[in-house]
Symmetry: C2
Subunit: 331 residues, 2 copies
């Protein structure tokens, strides 16, 4: 299989391309978190990004590169969540029709959010339907361009723009980061960020954080080849349940990712609760993975005094946040 | 009655004084909110301030000016909420003992938060006890310095530092604000901000937002003299239920506040819900007053393309946010 792996230059080009459309999120700091960790921790708040997650970045970069002649045919994506809304918003911004293939049992708010952004939603049954076949059918009929959630060089480059912004914000403070933590599902975001740091701040460690049992990146790095995670009981981090890293993300990870670590559902709940109670931000469980690793001491911060944590999105129900707060209330 | 009214120079001095201790919050922007209003709206996120509200600013500025000889006697404050935590944190930062007089029926989290910050909590019964007498007693015994929540020139100057930061952030963007909206209870914050803008950005309108029935600033400006609001049924904006503006805030407001407007509890609920669902931030009801006025169209934004809204704090229970989301869910 031949794949196109994006470069640092692609990330820089993506930043120029999406600048007029994406929200420039700025690092935030918390006195409570700094005091707790004995370090300076900078939060990259991608729940403030357009559509409520970083996914708009990659989708926007991909949609903008569809040749003029194919634009009227529209775009298509599979997603039960944030990628759906990112693609729908980017398509609407540029007047392309969007079709999103979603599982019938996707959360009602994510379906509503995708429709609110003007996309046509097509449902499938996770147990009985072949979603690849549905996609092939739709693409054959319409000539639409498929935008993959992470195995797509333009998407990975787009997600990497979050990394460039982190480097810029730190430079404005006259600082360099020791470590950056980002959630890892298929790996598009964390490897896009790894590309950005390799180009601009190569001494910074970039670490992916996955839910236990869905820690395909960790296992793949250990094995030196893409390796599926055991899976099993679903994690509360619905956005991070990819069975293995994508081909493109893993090709980057082998070269540029420092490590991947795993967190438990209880650690994720605690991070969502902490974010609500002390940071005063809304973070969905998967998006809190980096924060969870930090709070649980899964990443050594000894001597690493400047750390960034990417909070990737906040598209969840109040009941989800409430259940985390009830499960793990900060003292 | 003779009062000391702070000046713009006092606000500038406060900014220098508290800089090493307060969190420098930075304006955030929302694509959804901008699109909805047809304007650029900049949110000043004071729920990210140390202790979860802007109150740390004024408390820190006041504590730092207590003469050395009186510091060991400590500080005292009355508050059921955010001022309590601001004073407790400032006192602990500089090693002063703090006594906070709280109503017995204050929310458990606010009591816990104040104790977590090391303060001694003394309770009174709102119906039967005279809290002024309790304070006089405590001060006579300990020689502690009372830090009033808004009728205190040092506190007002400290709150005004939030305004200076807004002006600085806008200048970095090469922009000037047409309007700033801030919640108004006793008026310490909004008039501190009015001082800051009068000194640095005098064409910007500064507008206070109060809950209906607790709109003492609006009535006082109309009457040209401090006038109590009717009160009555309690508002969900517990932080804003001052019966009338303070003497010091009103003296500033007469000269420098452009207007005050009132919002309903339903409008406050909608703003808390919108903040959770779309802005992905945790805002307590009173702290959402400026956002509520904007969303409800209570402030004319026609031709006013650059608007800042101060979100003052996020110290509330998940159940409070949930009840607002249930009451007013965004479509």
């Amino acid at each position: 299989m031949s794949i196109t792996v994006p470069t640092f230059a692609d990330v820089e080009a993506a930043a120029e391309r999406i600048r007029p459309y994406a929200t420039r999120t700025r690092l935030i700091e918390s006195h409570d978190l700094n005091a707790r960790l004995g370090a300076r921790v900078f939060l990259k708040p991608e729940m403030f990004q357009r559509t409520g997650s970083f996914k708009f970045r990659g989708a926007c970069n991909a949609v903008l590169q569809i040749p003029q002649a194919r634009r009227a045919n529209g775009v298509i994506a599979f997603s039960s969540g944030n990628h759906a809304q990112g693609v729908a918003a980017a398509a609407r911004e540029f007047g392309l029709p969007a079709t999103i293939v979603m599982p019938k049992d996707a959360p009602a708010t994510k379906i509503a959010g995708t429709r609110r952004l003007g996309a046509d939603v097509v449902f499938y049954d996770r147990r009985t339907d072949d979603r690849e076949a549905i996609a092939r059918d739709l693409m054959a009929k319409s000539g639409a361009t498929l935008i993959e959630p992470f195995d797509n060089a333009k998407v990975v480059a787009g997600q990497g723009t979050a990394g460039l912004e982190i480097v810029d914000d730190m430079a404005a403070l006259g600082m360099t980061l020791d470590t950056v933590l980002a959630p890892c599902g298929g790996g598009g975001l964390v490897t896009g960020i790894a590309l950005a740091f390799a180009g601009r701040s190569p001494k910074t460690r970039v670490i992916g954080v996955e839910p236990e049992r869905f820690d395909g990146m960790r296992l793949s790095l250990a094995a030196g080849a893409r390796t599926p995670a055991p899976g099993g009981e679903l994690s509360i981090a619905d956005a991070l349940m990819a069975p293995a890293p994508g081909h493109i993300p893993f090709a980057i990870a082998k070269e540029k990712l420092s490590a991947a670590v795993a967190v438990t559902d209880t650690e994720l709940q605690r991070a969502v609760s902490y974010a609500f109670q002390r940071l005063k931000v809304v973070v969905e469980p998967g998006s809190a993975a980096g924060l969870a690793a930090l709070l649980a001491g899964k990443v050594d911060v000894g001597g690493r005094r400047h750390i960034a944590v990417v909070l990737t999105g906040g598209n969840c129900e109040i009941s989800t946040v409430a259940s985390c707060v009830v499960a793990v209330t900060e003292p």
